[in-house]
Amino acid sequence: MIELDLNTGLAPIRDRFLLLLSERQDSIQQNLELAIQSDDLADQYLAHIEVTLHKIAGSAGTLGFSELGDRAKATEANIISQRINGATQYRDIYFDIIAFLECSIEATCPAA
């Protein structure tokens, strides 16, 4: 019963998460476009995307979006690993980020 009350209480937080997710999707998309357009500053834009993905990964699972959280974590890990390995070509990461954006839209609006 207590658990049910707790989950009912989560509904407004879930709504705010979805609202914020929409803003975060926009932010990822903008930074992705900027990274693709300017190779020199790609690192910087990817770092912004990494921080945003980290936040999504941190709360999505608790709010019932486990798949979205796992996907965000995997994409974040991919960016980190490419950075550590000193990658200069980010094509694969860009595709990975696009796949994440598609997955995030599907996960949160299955009917879309």
Binding site: G9, I13, K55, A57, G58, A60
Partner: protein, 326 residues
């Protein structure tokens, strides 16, 4: 408990607020950054009983904040739970080295949070009630004798200001965390002060604490440059988790530690020189263990070190008897 949560994600703060409100007896104050937390310290007249801190935050990160809290007298023993999505071993190592009490990986569940909070409640109560009497690392002679407090030989005394040395309950949480990730590559090893019981009964509580602190420093320093965490488990025995030590030459390591301890010229508060020597148990390579079973490895290391000390005393006695007979 009065809890301060610091996280740059407002959703996480809302979730924590929601969960903590559902638990009786706790109150949560939230901050979106370390700078916000510092502002709260200026206005909040009550002392916090517990901290929930995210690791990855802009400007000052959670690990730096944790280290800064440990440097204050007020929050030296207050439970700090790192609440983070960073599950890599290097982050876990850094968090515990900085003084974290426990580590909760996001996404978290209400039951997990509830369980961890109830585990740290006793530590929080102890931290509130005890005035810190801290022998810090440094030459024994330089220390001024502080208020005498009674300690127990088997008590896992907290050791302050020694790099790489953490509290015993944090060490248990650390190996439990590692067991969920990858314990492979880590070795657990126990060291014990020989004749610790004699030292305990012949020295004042303060002098005994100083010996323990100095030995902790010697162990932690001699294990460098390897990633290591050391904790004092009571009864003159230390347990250590060392990373990447494929083959440890324990005898050589112990010799090195004993030379280090001798160079510290340990003495009592009245200047009487002390002869302190340690010995080590068998190193135990950690493999995957279920949940709390990882803590068992610490207990085994503790027992192994004490058995090694007993055996050494028996060998010495036998040698002495042999000489007498000859």
């Amino acid at each position: 408990m009065l809890i301060l949560a610091v996280d740059d994600d407002p959703i996480i703060l809302e979730l924590l607020q929601h969960y903590v409100n559902s638990l009786a007896g706790h109150e949560l104050v939230t901050a979106e950054s370390v700078a916000d937390a510092l502002e709260i310290f200026k206005h909040e007249t009550r002392r916090f009983d517990c901290f929930l801190v995210d690791i990855q935050m802009p400007d000052i990160d959670g690990i730096e904040f944790c280290r800064a809290l440990r440097e204050t007298n007020v929050y030296q023993r207050t439970p700090i739970l790192m609440l983070t999505a960073m599950s890599e071993k290097s982050y876990i190592d850094s968090a515990f080295s900085a003084g974290a009490t426990d580590y909760i990986t996001k996404p978290f569940e209400i039951n997990s949070l509830k369980g961890r909070l109830s585990l740290v409640e006793q530590i929080a109560a102890d931290a509130q009630s005890k005035t810190v009497d801290r022998p810090t690392s440094g030459p024994t002679g330089d220390r001024t004798r502080q208020d005498q407090q009674n300690i127990d030989l088997h008590q896992a005394l907290p050791i302050y200001d020694v790099d790489g040395v953490i509290e015993n309950h944090a060490m248990e949480n650390y190996v439990t965390q590692l067991s969920r990730k990858s314990l492979c590559g880590s070795v657990v090893l126990g060291f014990t002060v020989r004749h610790a019981t004699d030292l305990f009964f012949n020295l004042s509580s303060y002098d005994f604490s100083c010996v323990i602190t100095d030995v902790a420093e010697a162990i932690a320093d001699c294990l460098l440059p390897t990633q290591r965490l050391v904790s004092y488990a009571g009864n003159g025995t230390f347990v250590c988790v060392v990373e990447g030590a494929t083959t440890i030459d324990v005898d050589r390591l112990v010799d090195q530690m004993n030379i280090y301890i001798r160079s510290m010229e340990l003495s009592t508060s009245d200047g009487t020189a002390l002869e302190v020597r340690i010995c080590a148990g068998q190193p135990n390579r950690l493999v995957w263990r279920k949940g709390g079973a990882a803590v068992e490895a610490l207990r085994e290391a503790h027992i192994s070190a004490e058995q090694a000390a007993d055996q050494r005393d028996k060998d010495m006695n036998r040698l002495w008897l042999k000489k007498q007979l000859v």
